[in-house]
Subunit: 991 residues, 2 copies
């Protein structure tokens, strides 16, 4: 057992940390220089002389920590690792991981990431630092790319609607189940025996995750051989059936005819769901053509590295009739003010933001960056290239099958060569008790991982990286264990390809796919590179300007943090590879869990959830499981303040809790303590939990938070803290100290994982000691608590390959650095607040006049004075080169501003100047100098075509005013590529 | 002796090459699809049915090869390596290189490349695929960055003029020498004893390269101890002196007062040149303040990897009086039509393009990309950061000095601790015959390289990567060889820093530096990233559209080819490291030399020259050396056609040859064979060489080329071929077969090294067997022929770290693929020609109506008909999103178009549509529908400010016409960031 960190972590104290090493990370991460920090303190309202003095005005005295934060493996709070040291540690950690070619399958296979995509998308901050495309005018590039993803999925599955990705294949299965539930009549939804029937040939992690999701909805998961005895299991379920899930090809490689099954399911009024594989669908009859209502799967094999489990994009498609029920984000085609084609997120209204506890999905952050990579992969290969790749894999699988049969093995239950159709996977029976020995032999002689199905069967899944040579090496392994002497030279194997029989008519795909020009015109590297850059040029990201999104913490995603992402020893590890092959990951994960526990004041952390919303769900499930251990009433009431993010009630509902709303003070956003008291009293026996965000969604440190926690505890409830705003806490206070029992963190907010234009994310949960036993487990890995809940993600450690980012951030900042960053985050927000206060009402500040890390700009009064609403301010900000702050949340028609510590004074001043100038533009309307309609704000944003097409110009403002309202815009301006989208016009979801 | 390639190169034939492996590179590199190729053949004028039939119309029958090209290590012409295989081979090759921390110095030291610069500049095609900024309106980003570089150099050296980089430090020394020659009165220039005096403490490779350059100019190089006996050597040289070169700090680390020397040199009317180090100049009195007229050096330590010798940017600065004589490119501040600040390359006219054989420098391609990296490095660290880094290094060097003295060693000639000033380098005497033993011990116990100065002295140069720990390890080595028992713990070493004495007043820098805002405002990663992207957004590169520059071959620079560039095993090798540590490089270099020899039909290749122009110089020097071996007259006449590139006569002159011009036919550009015959006859005894470009600079395969070669050979001359147009030859014909004796290739044109916005480049030369003995050598490595000329570059293998790019290109294309690329390059050019012929006169096509890989569009008549010149077409093309073709070369007021094989049909059609639309715009002027002045072409290009500022619009065309003359521009358009610059300063836009 090696420890690659031995001499880096435990070296003596005379490390670079103590010497001035010249590449300390802190000053690179923090925006304002020390001089600027002084300037800003002096310009606060009221000013303050010292940063610490100022901090004491922001945090309530009872909350502020007294002891300093120190990071695991660093001898004191003032230690931190330089960027160079960090890269050395990564190098050292990487050596603990071993790259072994894995044929384990289960939805994760080898892929060749085209270098042009790796370089221009995955390694390009222009792509990975952008936000979810909620502002379509400055997001047309990634919207187009996500639309390509949707089109690709829709075409390959032959289902008319696809969303823009979900978190992973198992959660996609869960979404399919919930959608199925949603689709049956209300009576059946209420049926206590309602059942979701799952093929026993689904991937094991899919079944496990389904289990965790089914509980909350009171759905029974029954696994069965679906086709046995003419779909007996289905018929038997009868009116209890809400839906059926089959896998195609199945986890053991079998490919079945499902039309009969589909008909049977439909006859019972239930939904037929199919887990599938995009590449296989280039050869096989697609689910939409044999009666599937929903199809989903992992798009990882389309050019996204294994990454020890993620992140990857899962896809989700359904037939038209489920259009309004499909979970997640969906890009649709619409028009801008000029009538030009423009894309936007569609059907926002149907989901958790609005439906809250009535929502059946809580997904927000998805896998946009990875979906984009997969879409570009399909574009690069085109339909012909994908088909050829699939055929190559199918042929090699068939050759392997025949070779193994020749060697006397039982393959997929058969002993004779027939013309069974396989795609990429087969199982081989090596005799009782022999499977492990063969697998070990494969590992030691050929550096290969097979899947251990049971004590006598191995699974082998091939992929595009498998050459004829590799095939020969696989066969070599089995020759060792065969009594039959047969030689399979590479040439023989090569020639065997010709005798592979075609797929039978009934299973073969007959329909064409990916015929759209975009999939047929970018096959040279030059063309793809240009297309990627063209799309990128339409998108505003952190490479352009600050993205001051309240509650989203768009801070620096540094290149050093990101560096190991594409190192093979991190990217090429299968999530179910033997743990000995991932010791580097294990060390990193262990350290990161400890660091996060220290930072949050918790006892233990689970890194499994791959988004904040998943963290919420996981945390609430942990709470529920905890309560179940105790006698007494079912504690299933979840108190949630009205100001909570929509995911909170949605997650609570999904976890099977009943949501009870707590009032907040109108002005402060603080919990109404009387109401809290009353509700605690009312539900004293059933109180399960409260969900609170801290600092509150209004961006203030509520002074009564500890009191509230105590009260809930006194009534037997647990405290769930939404950690979206953790960036305001680190080093100054902690959820654990405040009294939370569970908290999710968003590593993609607070800990520097980039937003990727809408994902990936990581939403770990930290818990107090009493909850540790319930942390989520996994069927294929030792992870989580002894009595752990079922997994919430397909991979044991979720999106493992991006964890190094947060790890590096923590280690390079050190305890002192992290704390300092928090102080600057508070300073930055309060600086902007001070500059804007003379011009705009601020919704709420504390008694000292301070906000936390964000604050709400109140623009409601302008509706009356000038007909101007928050959206007009947001859109006009685009003309000034900025992304809008968070809009109309938590308070309608306001803007919530969060600059983060990474923005510097110059950038913040430009942002303030822009908002102040906008205030003047509003004033001009108020004064009647500009009309209430057709003014520069109502017409915002202005695209170039808007200003340059046609010769007529009969607006009340000049082109120059539209384009260059402030002088520095002439030097540096980001142009929206379309004009405002008509928000009322419901976009078409067809493409 | 290992051979990491053993099982990749010599595997049996059943490699991926024979199987369909799905990631063949050929279709990624080639633009047009197979279907499009057919379409294009059919649209040629006249059409042709087959690609090979078409090729036979392009190449003269006597030239076209019959046998197919096969690449070394590939069993037949149809083999090629997939991208995956290529990455595997790189991995395997890299293992032949060993990363050893090197303290060898000599101008090459360790550096920490900031990840943000690596990712956003070095790995970003937006930066590396752009061309030299000859079109300023679409190049303001890199022009600003190069101006930053110049400012940085000028500030640090305290000399008012700096250029935008030269090739390396030794060639910078050579340029300094030539400038010195240029600066003395004509009488002294003609003095046969004219002498350039060089300090014996200059780097050895600098002295060696000076030697190679001095020969051609008839300059004597004398090395001496410059300060000895009150500058006796200088005084002694007297009126023979043209200049003096000192090094500061010198190669052994000494830092001397040079004011007295400078005065003595000036008294003799000569120039004082100083080789120096930018980082040292943050602490030391800069050369401009002690009388230096010229200062130069290597900027590598400013964030550019060692890369086994290059590429790096050398800097070159001089005092104002040499402004018009400074070699290389220079960015200057100018104004655009609107009067806004705009940057441009200045003082073009003074150089080889115009002066031809009167030029004293031939530099074209320089080191733009690396200069940009170094400029960003200075911006990121700022003056304070650089100062702190320099002080840290100085202190550690001083601690090392004191520790070594304590241990009883002689350091820099001294045995006692005094307050001698050192910066980063010291020498230590370890006793006679002991040096090698100590070095070996350092390598085997501490994995460190010291410099072996002689049998008893070692040199040690520290850099920013040297931590206190590393320092302790260096000392540990010497403790082994010392009788004195003294312990230097890390803590002791750390504390010793405090007692380092300040630099004495007389040597200390007193003046401030880098006070400009740009060096003081981008110190956070976010800010630097944004600045980099902001500059990038102003520059047109291959990520936007084709760059159809005749004679420049702007083809795909693929991501796979570029991949190993930043792998430590390639990037972190010191050029003078023991050769055993670079076996991966050796294998790659050996293979690449063989491949290039095969491709060009030559016997041997030298990779040392780091630009095309350097190749010319090297090749001509080889020819001269060859002739010198033979009895008879000095064969120093060089025949050069009038249509030759300006570097040809410049290089000939630099090589000490007399240039005689050969006429060309006006229309065809072909050699005037009668004139050639006459000149051969006239100079029959003195004929040294002819320099020809093939295909000719007119873009045609001259049929008489073999005849011409034979004629020159018959008269005793050698044939030098300029390989700028080699892209038209590969696999179809070869310089060697045609009759050339030497040819330089431009790996940055034909073999996929990106142009980097004006460098790096690699200009290897291939030679016939009789010339091999004369290939350039190197004082510190076994390289070149037995009787090799002195080196032409500082590093034995020039810019070694970018050689993998060309290597990969060749291996991934294979013989067949390379040949196919040539065919497509011809097809693409002829397709564009066919589309444009109905609209524009074409200067010349062959009897079959074909051009080679490029052709000349003749716009001369429009001067009369519409007042329109080539520059107007070039500038208007920017409005259509294209870079202009090569302008006014080889024929004034024409445009030379070269698309390369990487452009696809769609892109070429857009380009043709643009030129056809421009023709209509000219026609409108011809017809009088538009005025001859102030029309859309004369006003082109249009920046956004031009269209949007002010409300008045009184032009004869609309804003829409200016911006969107073709409909697709509304979807995708690149905007010039300024309007047209006043071009009167530079009549010819060339390369
Ligand atoms: C307060 C709060 N909770 C939860 C979430 C959901 O997090 P995620 O998008 O990672 O699922 C968000 C997202 O912005 C949020 O702001
Ligand atoms: C014909 C010809 N010769 C020589 C050169 C000089 O090459 P380099 O810029 O690499 O020095 C060029 C550059 O374009 C050229 O076109
Ligand atoms: O992403 C959010 O739903 O805030």
């Amino acid at each position: 057992h090696i420890n690659p960190l031995d001499n880096t972590l435990d070296g003596n104290d005379i490390g670079e940390g103590r010497f001035d090493h010249g590449d300390a990370f802190l000053p690179r991460h923090i925006g304002p220089s020390e001089v600027d920090q002084k300037t800003m303190l002096a310009q606060l309202d009221p000013p303050n002389k010292s940063l610490d003095g100022f901090v004491r005005e922001v945090l309530p005295a009872g909350i502020l920590n007294t002891k300093s934060l120190s990071i695991h493996g660093q001898s004191n709070a003032h230690q931190s690792w330089s960027e160079t040291k960090m890269l050395e540690v990564f190098e050292s950690l990487s050596k603990g991981n071993r790259v072994v070619q894995s044929f384990i399958g289960c939805g994760y296979v080898g892929t060749k990431v085209p270098e042009v995509i790796k370089r221009n998308v995955l390694l390009n901050p222009g792509w990975y630092t952008s936000y979810t495309p909620y502002q379509p005018e400055i997001s047309q590039g990634r919207l187009e790319s996500l639309l390509n993803f949707q089109t690709m999925v829709s075409e390959l599955t032959s289902l008319s609607i696809s969303n823009a990705s979900v978190l992973d294949e198992p959660t996609a299965a869960a979404e399919a189940m919930t959608l199925s539930l949603n689709a049956v009549p209300a009576s059946r939804q209420k049926n206590p025996n309602k059942t979701f029937l799952v093929s026993n040939l689904c991937h094991p992690q899919t079944i496990a995750v389904l289990q965790s999701r089914a509980d909350g909805f009171g759905i029974k998961i029954v696994t069965a051989d679906l086709l046995a005895s003419e779909c007996q299991a289905v018929k038997h379920t009868g009116q209890d059936l809400i839906g059926v899930l089959a896998q195609y090809p199945d986890t053991e490689g079998g490919i079945q005819h499902f039309q009969g099954l589909a008909d049977t399911v439909h006859d019972l009024g239930a939904t037929f769901c199919v887990a599938t594989d995009l590449l296989a669908l280039t050869l096989l009859k697609p689910p939409g053509e044999f009666g599937a209502d929903i199809a989903f799967g992992n798009a990882q094999r389309f050019g996204v590295p294994l990454g020890y489990g993620g992140p990857h994009a899962a896809f989700f498609a359904c037939s038209d009739k489920y259009k309004r029920k499909i979970p997640g984000r969906l890009v649709g085609v619409s028009k801008d003010r000029l009538g030009n084609r423009a894309l936007r997120l569609a059907l926002q209204t149907r989901e958790q933001h609005i439906r809250r506890e009535k929502a059946t999905s809580n997904i927000c952050t998805a896998q946009a960056l990875l979906a984009n990579m997969s879409a570009f992969y399909a574009i690069y290969h085109g339909p012909k290239g994908l088909f050829a790749m699939a055929e190559r894999i199918r042929k090699r699988t068939d050759i392997l099958r025949r070779a193994l049969l020749n060697l006397g093995f039982v393959v997929n239950g058969k002993t004779e060569i027939d013309d069974a159709v396989l795609f990429d996977t087969l199982t081989v029976d090596v005799g009782h008790g022999e499977a492990a020995r063969v697998a070990e032999w494969a590992l030691s002689t050929q550096v290969m991982n097979f899947r251990l199905l049971d004590d006598h069967r191995l699974g082998i899944t091939l992929d595009e990286t498998v050459s004829i040579q590799v095939l020969a090496r696989i066969i070599e392994v089995f020759q060792q264990f065969s009594k039959i002497q047969e030689v399979f030279t590479e040439t023989r194997l090569f020639n065997m390809q010709e005798s592979v029989t075609p797929i039978s008519e009934s299973l073969r795909r007959g329909s064409s796919f990916l015929t759209q020009p975009v999939f047929n015109t970018h096959h040279s590297e030059t063309e793809l590179m240009r297309y990627i850059h063209h799309l990128q040029s339409k998108d505003l990201s952190l490479v352009h300007s600050m993205i001051p999104l309240g509650s989203c913490t768009m801070k620096l995603n540094s290149a050093t943090e990101m560096a190991p992402l594409t190192w093979p020893r991190f990217s090429d590890i299968h999530p179910f590879a033997p743990i000995q092959q991932a010791q580097g990951y294990m060390l990193l994960i262990d350290e990161l869990e400890k660091d996060l526990a220290d930072i949050t004041g918790f006892h233990a952390v689970s890194l499994q959830p791959n988004s904040g919303a998943q963290g919420e769900f996981a945390g609430l499930r942990v709470i529920r499981k905890y309560h179940e251990q105790n006698p007494g009433k079912k504690r299933d009431i979840c108190l949630i303040p009205v100001s909570a993010h929509g995911t909170n009630p949605a997650s609570a509902a999904m976890a099977g809790m009943r949501v009870v709303t707590i009032k907040c003070e109108q002005k402060t956003g603080n919990l109404d303590m009387d109401d809290l008291k009353a509700k605690c009293e009312k539900y004293s026996e059933e109180l399960g939990a409260i969900m609170v965000t801290y600092p509150s969604t209004f961006g203030v440190f509520e002074p009564q938070i500890k009191e509230a926690c105590k009260m809930v505890h006194d009534y037997g409830g647990q405290v769930y803290m939404d950690g979206a705003n953790l960036n305001a806490q680190i080093g100054l206070c902690s959820p654990g100290d405040i009294g939370a029992d569970v908290c999710h963190l968003n590593l993609h907010k607070t800990f520097c994982i980039p937003h990727g234009g809408g994902g990936p994310g990581v939403g770990p949960i930290g818990v107090q000691k009493h909850l540790e036993p319930f942390l989520p487990g996994h069927p294929l890995a030792k992870v989580g608590g002894e009595k752990g809940i079922s997994p919430v993600s397909g991979a044991p450690w979720g999106s493992a390959s991006i964890l190094p980012i947060s790890y590096a951030y923590i280690k390079m900042m050190g305890g002192h650095g992290l704390t300092h960053a928090t102080k600057i985050t508070l300073l930055n927000a309060n600086y902007i607040l001070a500059r804007l206060k003379p011009h705009y009402p601020i919704l709420y500040t504390n008694a000292a006049g301070r906000c936390a890390h964000e604050f709400i700009l109140d623009v409601r009064k302008f509706k009356e004075t000038a007909g101007i609403e928050a959206i007009d301010v947001a859109k006009r900000l685009q003309d000034y080169g900025f992304h809008a702050p968070t809009m109309s949340w938590p308070v309608a028609n306001t803007l919530m501003i969060e600059p983060t510590e990474s923005e510097n004074l110059g950038e913040m001043n430009r942002f303030c100047d822009a908002l102040i100038e906008i205030r003047k533009e509003i004033a001009a309307i108020e004064k009647g100098e500009q009309p209430r309609e057709g003014n520069v704000m109502k017409m915002a944003p202005h695209s170039l075509r808007d200003l340059l097409e046609g010769n007529q110009w009969d607006r009340s403002y000049s082109r120059e005013r539209a384009a260059y309202p402030l002088p520095w815009l002439k030097e540096k301006k980001f142009w929206p590529s379309v004009t405002r989208l008509d928000d009322s016009e419901s976009p078409r979801d067809s493409f």
